[in-house]
Amino acid sequence: MDIKDFIAPFAVWKRAFEKPFTVKKPIDQRPGAPRYRGFHKNDVEKCVGCGTCEAICMNKAIDLVPVAGREAKAGDSGLRPKIDYGRCCWCALCVDICPSGSLSMSNEYLWIDRDPDAFRYVPGVDKKPWDEAKLGYARAEGYRLLEGKRVEMAELPHAEAIKSFLELVRGYSREQAEKEADRCVSCGVCVASCPVHMDIPGYIKAVRDGDLTTGLRLLYETNPFPEACGRVCTHLCEEACSIGSGGDPVAIRWLKRYIADQVELSNYGQILPRAEPSTGKKVAVIGAGPGGLSAAYYLALLGHKVTVFEKDEAAGGMLRYGIPEYRLPYPALDKDIGYIESLGVEIKRGAAVGPGLSLASLRRDFDAVYISTGLPLAYGLEIPGDSHPSVLDGVAVLAAATRGEALGLGAKVAVIGGGNVAMDAARTALRNGASVDILYRRREEDMPADPQEIAEAKAEGARLIEKAIPLEVKDAEEGGARFVWNEARMVQKEEGKRPVPETIPGAIREERYDSIIAAIGQGPELSFVTEEDGIAMKRFKPQVSREGKTSAGKVFAGGDLVNDRKDAISAIADGHRAAQGIDRLLGGKGA
C-alpha cells in the first residue's frame, strides 16, 4: 500500500461531467440496428400458410389461424401465423426457415400496450406501426435453412433420347431419393391439391426413413397406379408445394415412383391390404383405363366380384395408348395392372360394350355398372381440307405407336395443338426421324401441356410456331399436304381475362408437310348408351353425383368422360369415389 492508493481513486472525478450513454426515451430515440430482431412482419400475399414456422418454433409461440377474407386455395392453406409474444423468444428461426421467405422482423425496440391480448396478433393482417419498416432481421444473403434446389433427376440426353423410345427419366437412387425427401417440410399443403388426396407427407417420410413398405401401403390407400402416376401424373401437388414458393418444389412425383420402383410386385401381396371376404355382389366396369381399374381395385378390396370390359387388346386405356413408352414404359404400367388383377379383378380384353354386349345386359347381369370410357375420339380441325389423307389424328398416331405399327409419318410433320397429346405426338414423330413443327393458336405460356413436356419437345428439336390459326389444308403436288394458317396477335379483350388471339389480316403462311397431326382435343364415345338406359346427359356428359352415380339406377360414371381435368389422377379419384358409392349401393359402408 502506498500513497498512490489513497490519491488515485479521486481520478473518478475527471469523468463526472461526461455525457451519459443512457437514452432518455421518449426525448431521445435510438433506432434498433438494421438487423435487430424486433416484432414480426409477414408478407401475407407471399405467405402460403404452410405452418413451417409453427413447426420449427421451439416455444410453440406460433399458431396458424384462419384470417378474414382469405380462403384456402391450391398451394395456400388460407391460414396465417399468429404470434404469441408471451412465448416468442425472438430467435427468428421462423424467419430462417420460412419456405416462401414471407416472414421477417422489424427493428422496433419497444411496444407498450395495456391490453395483454394485443400481444397475440397475426403479422401482416393485424396492422402494426412497423409493418412498413424497412429495417429489421431478414435472412442473410446466402443463408437458408431449407434446400431450395431439388435433387436433379438423371435423364437421357436429348440427342440420345430421340433415337429410341427408351425411358427418359432414370429414377432416383436411394441416396438421391432420401435427400430429396429431406427437403419436404411435411406441411401437407399439397394434399388438398391432389385429386385423390394422397398422404404425400406420409409417403415422403417413409422414403426419408427408408421404410418403403409403409410408403407403398400409403400409396395404395388412395391410388392403385403408383408406377404410372409416379411417372406421368400432372402433379398438381408440386404446383402447390410450399417449398416451391421459394425454390424448386419437392419432386413428389419422382419420390412416388421411387417407392413403387423399389418394391417387387411379388412382394405387394404381403405388404398391401387383403381383400375382404366375398360379398357375392358383381360389378361391371366399362373401360380398363386408370379410372375404371381404380374403381375395380377398391371394389375388389371390399369383396365385390369385378369384371372389366375393355375394347382394346390390352388394359391401361390412355396410359397405354395415349402416353408414349419413353414417358411410361409398358412394364411399369403392367406392374400396376398386374397387382389389380391379382386381387381377382377379371379384365375382359377386346370386349367392347356395344352391339352384342349392351349396357342393358350388363345392368341385368351385374349389381352395378361403372362407365369409365374416357375421351377416345379426336376432334377434327374443322377447316377446309381436314379430311385430307395426310391429316391424322393424334390419339390414333399414339395408339398405333403403342401397337408397334408402322406410322409412315414422313420426313416433315406438323402437329396442331398445344396439349400433352400434341407434345407426345410431336415427340413420337421426332423419334420416328421426322422434323416436327408444333403449331398453336396462342402463345407458349397459354399452352395447356405440362411446361416440362413443352420444354422437352423443344429441346428434342421440335419447332414451336405460336399464334398460328389454322385456315386450310391443301393438297401438295410434291406429296403430303400444305397447311395454311393465319398469323395472329394476342388481344386483351376483357380486363382480368386471358388475352385472345386475333388474326392479323393478310399474314397468311403455308408450309408443306408429309403428315399433319391434329391434336386439338378429344370427345367421348358413348354410342353404347341408349335412350332407354335413362342416363341424363348435359353437353354429352353423363350427369353424376359426387360419387359418380348417374340418374339411371346402379349405373355410375367417372373419369375423363365426366370430369373437367381430364387427367389420370382425376380419373383415379373418380374411380375411388365411385367404388365407395357402389359399395354403399350394394349394402356396404363405402370404405
Partner: protein, 387 residues
Amino acid sequence: MKREKTHIIPPAERASPDLSSGKYLVMWQGPQHPGITGNMSLRLVAEGDTVVDCETHVGYLHRGFEKLMERRLWMQNFPLVCRIAVPEPDFNEYCYAAAIEELAGIQIPEKAVWLRTLSLEMMRLASFLMWIGGQAGAFGHGTIIQWSVTMRDYVLDLFEELTGGRIYHMYIIPGGVRSDVPKGFLRHVLEVLNVVEKNLDDIELVMFHNAIFKLRAEGLGYIPKEWIDQYGITGPNARAAGVARDLRKDWGYLAYPKLDFEIILGTKSDAYERSRLRLLEMYQCINLLRQIIDAMPKEGSFKEKLPNPLHWKIPAGETYVAAECTRGEYGFYVVSDGSDKPRRVTVRGPSYTHAVSVMERLARGTNIADIAGLMVSLHTYPPEIER
C-alpha cells in the same frame, strides 16, 4: 503502512455450531441480493461478524434446460442453450453447435471459424466488463459499474449490429454462423475497443490502486494450488493460483491456434489477484479481437449446408465439447441415439464448482461483510449451475 496478509485455509469439514447456544446468528444472503450475482442463496452462520458455516442453496433458477432439450429437435435447441448462462450466452451456442458438428461430421467454413472466435471474444469482453462492476460494487465502489456497464453496452451495441440481439445473440448456429459481418462493422469494433481500452486504464487506476479495495480484497478467498484439481477449478480462478490452464491453448479450438497470446498467470490466488488477472485478460481480449479482425478472411461462406432441420437426425454417438469462457471450462456433453432429438445433454458450467463447493469452504472464517466480494471474486453465474 504495511499490513501482512496471512492466508487462512478453511477446514474441509463443515462446522456444526450449536445454534441454540445464542452465540450464533443465522442469516440468508440471497436469493435476491446483488452480491450473489444471480438467483441463489447462502445460508450463513455467523459468530460475531465471522462466518463459521456456509451452505449454498440453489434451485431458484431451475428451468430444466437439459430435460427440455431432450424434447426438442436438434435445431430447436439452438435458441434454447444461450439461456443457460445469461450474461455469456455465446459459449453455450458454440459448445452446442460444435458438439453437433462433431457428431454429424460437419466441417464448418473457415470464415465461420473466425466469426465464431470474434463473437466469443466479444462476449468475453462484455462478460468481464459486467463482472468488474460487480466486483468493485461488492466492496462499495459504485462508480466502476457505471463505467463498465456503459462499456459493456457499447459491446452489446456491436452484438446488436452483428447478430440482431443484444443479450441472446443466437448467432452461432450448427453449421456455422447466421450471417457475415455487416458493412462497417469491423471498424465499429475497433472504435469500441479503443474506448474500452482507455476506460480500462481508468478502472485500473481507481480500482486497483485503491486502498480500500486492496485492504478488503488482498488475502480474501485464498485458493491453495492443491485445490485446483481437487475441486475442478478452472479459468482465472485457477490461473490466479499459478496453474496454467486455458482451453484456448490446451485444446486449441476455433482460430485460437492462429492467434498470438500467452496464458496470464498469477501467484497470490486471492480476490485481488483474481481481479487483477481478469483485468489483464480484458486487455488480452482487446488484443485478440484486433488480431482476429486483422487475420479474418474477408470473403467466403459463413455456413455449411445442413439437412432440413425439421428431420435432421444426428448419428448415434456421444461427445464432450468445451470452450474457455470467462469463468473457466464451459462444456457440453451431448449424447445422440441417432434420432432427431438429443438423448441427453449435460452442461458443465464452471460455476457449479466455484459457487457451490469452493464458495462453501472459502466462506468459513471470512468476515460477513466480505462474503459478497468473495462470491464475485469467484466470478460465478448461478444460471449455469441449474440447467
